[in-house]
Amino acid sequence: MGFVFYLISTFTVGGALAAVLLKNLVHAALALTVAFFGLALLFLRLDAQFAGFAQILVYVGAVAILVVFAILLTRGSELPKEGVFSKTWLVGLAIAAGVFALLAWAVLQAAPWLPQEKAAPTVTVNDIGNALMSRYVLPLEIVAVLLTAALLGAVIVAMHEKERSR
């Protein structure tokens, strides 16, 4: 695993922790962006080039911008009066720990069933394209319909506000 993995994961976990613990909302959004970059670097370490660069393109280039625009257009950048931590944090911690335990158990149970290969299979963008067009074409089309519905919904919401303000 080595030194590089620990460096990248420190970066990622640090960014995610900062995103939760920082008081200033825009700082938290930028720390979340750092966590996204860390995830992309982890993908690249595993030789998944397409996943890594698509992660940067989509998460850093679109989702992070969306988050900061949402903060900008609402009055979110002022500090809230009652502090940023919830009063029921102990229950929240317990639930999060429970979910983590469940996922870890599921993954570790499945590990003996994976083929013991010495070298990771290289997946090129060509293979991903072929798979998307042949085996996974139905999920692709469903995602396209979902995005179109989201786009239409955004246009309708924006148009409705414009008519009402006239």
Binding site: N24, V26, H27, L30, T33, Q49, F50, F53, A54, I56, L57, V60, G61, A62, A64, I65, V68, F69, L72, T124, V125, N126
Partner: protein, 391 residues
Amino acid sequence: MIERLDQIFVILKHWLLGYLPESWQTPVGVILSVVCIIGLYPALFAITTVLERKGVARIQNRLGPNRVGPYGILQPMADGIKSLTKEDIVPTTADGVVHFLAPVVLVVVVFMGFAVLPMGRNMVLVDMDAGLLFYFAMGASAELSVFMAGWSSRNKYSLLGAMRAVAQMISYEIALLLSSVVIVMITGSLSLVKIVEAQNHYTWGLPHWFIFTPWGLAGFLMYAIAGTAETNRSPFDLPEGESELVAGYHTEYSGFKFALFFLGEYVAMFSISGLGSTLFLGGWTAPLEVLQFIPSWIWFFGKLFLSMGVFIWMRGTLPRLRQDQLMNFAWKFVLPMCLLNLFAAGLWHFMGAGWLRWVVCSAILILAYVSIGREGMRRKNLGPRSYRYAE
């Protein structure tokens, strides 16, 4: 002899690395190439600032800077000394950390794009399989630095400028990506080295550059428009327009940080021109078969400077677009044209070689251009021009 001149940088690098032990060669080789890139492009930036100021000045019927050296060519030295010694003013209510990091993030992300550009035969820093995707991933991260700059200044003008700039960059990024997808469709690879290799064939002495095909020409024009808008360059420079928003998102930056923003913008222009010439103009290949004796890196940088000349020419000539005109243009004209370009390129591939595919693809694209253009102009009542004179 010709091949040696063509490969002179590669030979030089291998000769220098020959003096090192085996295990040190790869890291030092990478560091050497990175240092060359980081040293070369700011030098080109310095030359370009003088050329731009003189060029725009001459278009506007005046002389440019002509005091500092003969014909003003030492002006970048004066500018460099000025920006290094100016006071670095940070507003007291500004967000210190983010204000400091914004130009840093911009410059880092912009220089990362050069890692995949093939600047000559065998002269790529990293030959990645998904090179084009890496380039666009880095371009997408540049928008974040614009937002950081505008928000951290706690200045309404900066915030407005940043929001306009980010909206513009997101809209035109789709056009940029779609016009490059056409190239990926035809060559079947995301690697920039393979894309240049696919253009390295000659028929009757003329090259197989993608710009000489109907879909390639349309794609190149869309790419050029989108590239101009991505780097906030005139006629799309409302976010940094001097007469509207003071200086947009870099109002509150002085001294070296402003110089870094300026550097970032010009190096982004070099980067986008370099990618444009790699995708559409054949990268380092020569335009005519007989001219192949000129080294490949001279062709690459020649095309880069040609693109910069066109950028400077456009800046001096065209008036600025308003924000809503700019956004309408992106979503209602450039995006449909890019989608139709995809369709035309698909037809081109499946119709097989011959004169019919030229006619059909050109007809589709010209019809689309005329009909979408006319549709966009229909609702504007443009009568004959009327003048009002002061009494």
